[in-house]
Amino acid sequence: MGTIVKDVTFKNDIPKGFLSDTHVSYISTYGKDKDDYEYCMTEYLRLSGIYWGLTTLDLLNNLDKLDKAEIISFVVSCQTDEGGFSPSPRHDCSILYTLSAIQVLCTYDQLDAIDVNKAIKYIASLQNEDGSFCGDVWGEVDTRFSFCAVASLALVGRLWTDCPINTKHCVEFIVSCMNFDGGFGCRPGSETHSGQVYCCVGALSILHELHHIDADLLGWWLCERQLPSGGLNGRPEKLPDVCYSWWVLSSLAVIGKMHWIDQESLKSFIIASQDPETGGIADRPGDMVDPFHTLFGVAGLSLMGQTNLKKINPVFCMPQYVIDRLAINVEILTI
C-alpha cells in the first residue's frame, strides 16, 4: 500500500502569460444575458457573485466596466426587514450575503445607500452565548460566520467604537476550534480546512489577537498544502485548487510565512488554470471557469506581486486602497 500524491499535470497548450484583458471581458459580460442558464442557476448566491466580479475588475483596473448605479440599487434591494442581506430579492437573508453587500458598498464608498444600523443589529443578533455566530435565524454555527461578523463590523467602523458584539467571547470560540495541526475547523472538534483557517486567522487578525496562533505549526501545515504542480490543496491528500491556493496563501501572508511556499510554481499553476478562449480562471487547468475562481486566482497573483494589478488585502480579499480609505489596520505577523 502506498499513497499516490493527488495532483495535476499540465498539458502542452496551457496559456503562458497572465491574460488580463480576457478576464476583464469575461467578468464584464458575465450576467449581461439575464437568460443565461449558468447565471440563472446561481441566483441563490448572486450578491456574493457580484462581490467576486467587482473585486476582480477593480484589481484589474477596470471597475468602470460595471454599471455602478445598477449594482448599488441591486444591493439595496437585497436588504430585508431583518436588516441582513439576501443573495437576491425574495430570498432569505444570511450573514454571508450581508458581508458581500458591505464589501461591495465599501469598494464603491457608498455605505450610506443602505440602513447600516439595521445591518449591524442583524449581525449582533446572530451571536450566541459562547461567542460563536449563526449564519441566519436557523441556527447553523460555523467559524465562517464569525469571520463574516468581524469583517462586516470592521468595514462599517463598529468593531472598535460602540461594538455591538462580545469580542472576547468571539475570540474564545474561534480559539476553541483550533486543532492539533495548528489549524481551524468549522466548530469545536471539526477537522482543519484551509477555508476555515482563512476565516479564523482573518478574524483574529482583524481583532489583533493573532498571538493565539502557533504560527510555526500552522505555517508548516499550510506550506505542506503545496503540491508538485505548484497548486495548493485545502486539506492533506486532496487535489490542488485555485481557490484553496488563495485561502492558504493569504493565511500564510497574515502569519508572515508566505516565503515558506514556492511562489513561482504557484503563479504557474494559476496561469495554467486560465481559459484563453473565454477568459476567466478555473479551479485547476483544463476545467470550466467561473467568477469565484477568477477572483481568487487574480487575488493570489496580486498578493504575489503581479504587475498591473491593484494590491489586495489578504484578510478582506478587497483592494488595499479600500481598506486604507476605511483606515482599517489588520494585524500581520512579521517573522
Binding site: 500500500m1 502506498g2 499513497t3 500524491v5 437568460d35 442558464y37 440563472c40 442557476m41 441566483e43 441563490y44 448566491l45 425574495r90 430570498h91 432569505d92 441566519d136 436557523w138 441556527g139 447553523e140 460555523d142 486543532n179 492539533f180 495541526d181 495548528g182 475547523g185 468549522c186 472538534g189 471539526s190 477537522e191 482543519t192 480546512h193 489583533h208 489577537e209 498571538h211 502557533d214 510555526d216 505549526l217 508548516w220 501545515w221 506550506c223 505542506e224 503545496q226 492533506p236 491528500e237 486532496k238 485548487d241 510565512k257 515558506w260 514556492d262 481559459d275 478555473a282 479551479d283 485547476r284 483544463g286 476545467d287 470550466m288 467561473d290 469565484f292 475562481h293 512579521t334 517573522i335
Partner: protein
C-alpha cells in the same frame, strides 16, 4: 464550480445543449416562481413542500428552500404524530439529496434541525448513516461533523468512537480525518493528571507505536507524520515572567513575559518591595493590544532591597524576585532544555530513542523521503536538542534540497532551534549576545532578549530587521554585518541605540534608512558595502547621525 472538466464540443452539440438548457430553465423558473408565490402568501403547506423538493433534489444549496421547509415543520398546527411522520419522511428526502451532494452544508444542517425537532430521534440509525457516508468518502468533513453532533446528543460512548477510528485506520492508514478525530478523543478518554502532557502516558506510548506502524507501512502518507509531531508535544509554553529590570533613577520597573498579555491583566500584577505592595501604573511598551513587555512607574521612589513582581494570567500564577542594591539591575529567569520542549519521562525517552533508531533505518532505505528526515529532526529535538544539534542542522540542510519548495521553512526551523540552544546556554544577565555565524534566517524568541545592551547578528542570512526589533529598550549597539538585509523598518524609535553596523548587506535606497531618524540617541551608522553606499553623499546629509559608507 469544482472539478468540471471543459470538454470540446462541436457547434451542433452546443446548439443541442443550449436548447436542452433553455427548456430546463423554463421549468426551473416556473417552479421558482411558484415557490416565491407560496412564500409571499405565507403558505406553508404540503404543496410548498412538493415544490421545494423539485429544486432541492438537484440543487441542495438553495438555502431559502430549506428554510421554507423548516418553517413548514415549525409552524405546523397539525397533530404531533403527523408532524413526527412529516419529519421522518424529511429524513428520507434529505438522505436522497445527500446521495446527490454529500458535501452540501444545507442538507446536513437540515438533518440536524430535523433530529432536534423529533420527539424520539433514532440516533442509532443516524450513526449508521454516518458509517455509510464515511464508507463512500472517509474524508467528508460534513459527515464527520454530523457524526460528532450525533454522538454528543446521544451520549454515545467516546471509547466506541476511538474503536471506530481504529477500524478506519486499520483499513487505510492514510486517513487524516481519523487521526484528527483521535487527537480530540484521546485527551477526553485518557486525560493526564499532570500538566503538560495531554494524554495519559501509558496511552501516549501505545499511540506512538500505532502511528509508527502507520508511517512504516506507508512512509509517503503525510497524515501519520503530522499526527506524530503532535504526539511529540508542541511546546505550548506556559506563561511565565522571563525578566525584570529595575531602575531607581528614575524609578521604573520593566517586566517581560513569555506570552503577551492585555492591559487589564497587567494592571492586576503586584509589585512588592521588601514584602510591601507598592502602588503605581503599568504601561505597555507600545500601542499594541497585547504586549510581552510592560513598564511600571511607582507612585513613590524605589529603594534598595528585595523586589518582586507577581501576576496571574489565565489562571497561571507567575513570579520573579530580585535584589537591588545598585541604581539599575536586570534579573532573568533561568532557562533549560525544558524551556523550549516538554519534559519527557524515562519511559517516554526510551520509546523515542527506539523510534529514532527505527527512523534512521527507514531513512537508509528511503533516503529521499522528506517525512522521515524531518521526523528524525523532531525526534532529536524532543530527546536532546543540544546533543543532536549538528546532526539536526545537517538533516535540515538536506531537506532544503530534497524538498526545495519549502526550503525557507527548513531554514527558519533551523534558525529557531539555533536561537533556542543559544538561549538555553547563554548568560542573559550579561546583557550581551553574540549570535554571529549561526546561519540564521530569522531571529525568534526576542522576548528572551529584551534586556540586551549589545547584540551581534553578523555573518548570518537575515533578510530583514522587522518589527521584531521594536522590543529593545536598552539596546546600545546592534551589529548585523554580512547578512542579506534589504529592509530595516523595525529599527524605529529604539531609545538607547547609539551604534548600528549594517556593513555588507543589500540595502538599496536612502528611503529605507528614514526610520533611523526616529532613534533619538543614534550617533553612528556604518553602511559599508551596501548598494546604497554608492549613492551621492548629498542624499545622506539630513541624517542626525554620523554615517560610514
Amino acid at each position: 464550480m469544482h472539478g468540471r472538466v471543459k470538454v470540446k464540443t462541436s457547434a451542433e452539440q452546443q446548439e443541442e445543449k443550449r436548447k436542452e438548457r433553455q427548456s430546463k430553465l423554463k421549468i426551473f423558473r416556473k417552479v421558482i416562481n411558484a415557490f416565491f408565490n407560496k412564500v409571499s402568501k405565507e403558505e406553508y403547506d404540503n404543496d410548498g413542500l412538493e415544490i421545494t423538493k423539485q429544486i432541492l433534489a438537484s440543487n441542495s444549496d438553495y438555502s431559502s428552500m430549506w428554510n421554507y421547509r423548516k418553517k413548514c415543520f415549525a409552524n405546523s398546527e397539525k397533530p404531533k404524530s403527523e408532524i413526527e411522520a412529516m419529519l421522518n419522511s424529511e429524513l428520507t428526502f434529505i438522505e436522497s439529496c445527500l446521495r446527490n451532494n454529500p458535501k452540501s452544508y444545507g442538507c446536513w444542517h437540515q438533518r440536524c434541525f430535523v433530529l432536534l425537532k423529533l420527539k424520539t430521534p433514532d440516533w442509532k440509525r443516524e450513526l449508521q448513516l454516518c458509517n455509510l457516508f464515511l464508507q463512500f468518502d472517509d474524508r467528508n468533513f460534513h459527515c464527520w461533523d454530523y457524526r460528532r453532533f450525533v454522538c454528543s446528543h446521544s451520549n454515545h460512548p467516546l471509547k466506541d468512537e476511538i474503536d471506530y477510528t481504529n477500524k478506519l485506520i486499520e483499513s487505510n492508514f492514510s486517513n487524516y480525518s481519523s487521526w484528527h478525530y483521535r487527537s480530540k478523543l484521546l485527551p477526553e478518554v485518557y486525560p493526564d493528571s499532570s500538566v503538560g502532557n495531554k494524554i495519559a502516558e501509558r496511552k501516549l506510548l501505545e499511540e506512538l507505536e500505532l502511528v509508527q506502524n502507520a508511517f512504516f507501512t506507508d512512509p509517503n502518507d503525510q497524515s501519520a507524520w503530522f499526527y506524530h509531531k503532535w504526539l511529540l508535544g508542541r511546546g505550548h509554553p506556559m506563561q511565565s515572567i522571563l525578566s525584570l529590570h529595575v531602575s531607581r533613577f528614575p524609578s521604573t520597573l520593566t517586566c517581560t513575559l513569555r506570552k503577551p498579555i492585555k492591559e487589564e491583566d497587567c494592571q492586576q500584577a503586584l509589585v512588592r518591595v521588601n514584602g510591601t505592595v507598592i502602588s503605581g501604573k503599568w504601561k505597555p511598551h507600545s500601542s499594541a493590544c497585547y504586549m510581552n513587555t510592560w513598564t511600571f512607574t511607582p507612585h513613590e521612589k524605589i529603594g534598595t532591597g528585595l523586589i518582586s513582581v507577581s501576576c496571574q494570567v489565565d489562571g497561571v500564577e507567575t513570579q520573579i524576585t530580585m535584589e537591588i542594591d545598585d541604581n539599575e539591575a536586570l534579573c532573568c529567569a533561568k532557562n533549560t532544555i525544558e524551556t523550549f520542549c516538554e519534559s519527557s519521562s524515562d519511559a517516554k525517552l526510551l520509546v523515542l530513542e527506539e523510534e529514532l533508531n527505527s527512523c534512521r533505518e527507514l531513512n537508509e532505505l528511503e533516503p529521499d523521503n522528506k517525512w522521515v528526515v524531518l521526523t528524525l529532526v523532531f525526534l532529536m529535538k524532543a530527546i536532546d536538542p543540544i546533543r543532536f544539534f549538528s546532526e539536526m542542522k545537517e538533516l535540515l540542510k538536506s531537506l532544503c534540497i530534497i524538498d526545495s519548495k519549502r526550503s525557507c521553512y527548513y531554514q527558519d526551523l533551523h534558525s529557531k532551534y539555533a536561537v533556542e540552544n543559544w538561549i538555553i546556554c547563554a548568560d542573559l544577565q550579561s546583557r550581551k549576545a553574540d549570535l554571529r555565524n549561526k546561519g540564521i534566517t530569522r531571529l525568534c524568541h526576542v522576548e528572551f532578549l529584551v534586556g540586551l545592551t549589545h547584540l551581534d547578528l553578523s555573518h548570518n542570512k537575515l533578510k530583514a530587521l522587522g518589527s521584531t526589533f521594536l522590543v529593545f529598550p536598552w539596546l546600545q549597539e546592534l551589529k548585523a554585518d554580512d547578512n542579506e538585509i534589504t529592509e530595516i523598518d523595525g529599527l524605529k524609535a529604539l531609545p538607547s541605540l547609539i551604534t548600528l553596523s549594517l556593513n555588507s548587506n543589500a540595502l538599496s535606497s536612502v528611503e529605507l534608512l528614514s526610520c533611523l531618524s526616529t532613534c533619538p540617541n543614534l550617533q553612528h551608522v556604518s553602511l559599508k558595502s551596501n548598494p546604497v553606499s554608492s549613492c551621492e553623499k548629498d542624499y545622506f546629509k539630513n541624517f542626525p547621525f554620523r554615517l560610514t559608507l
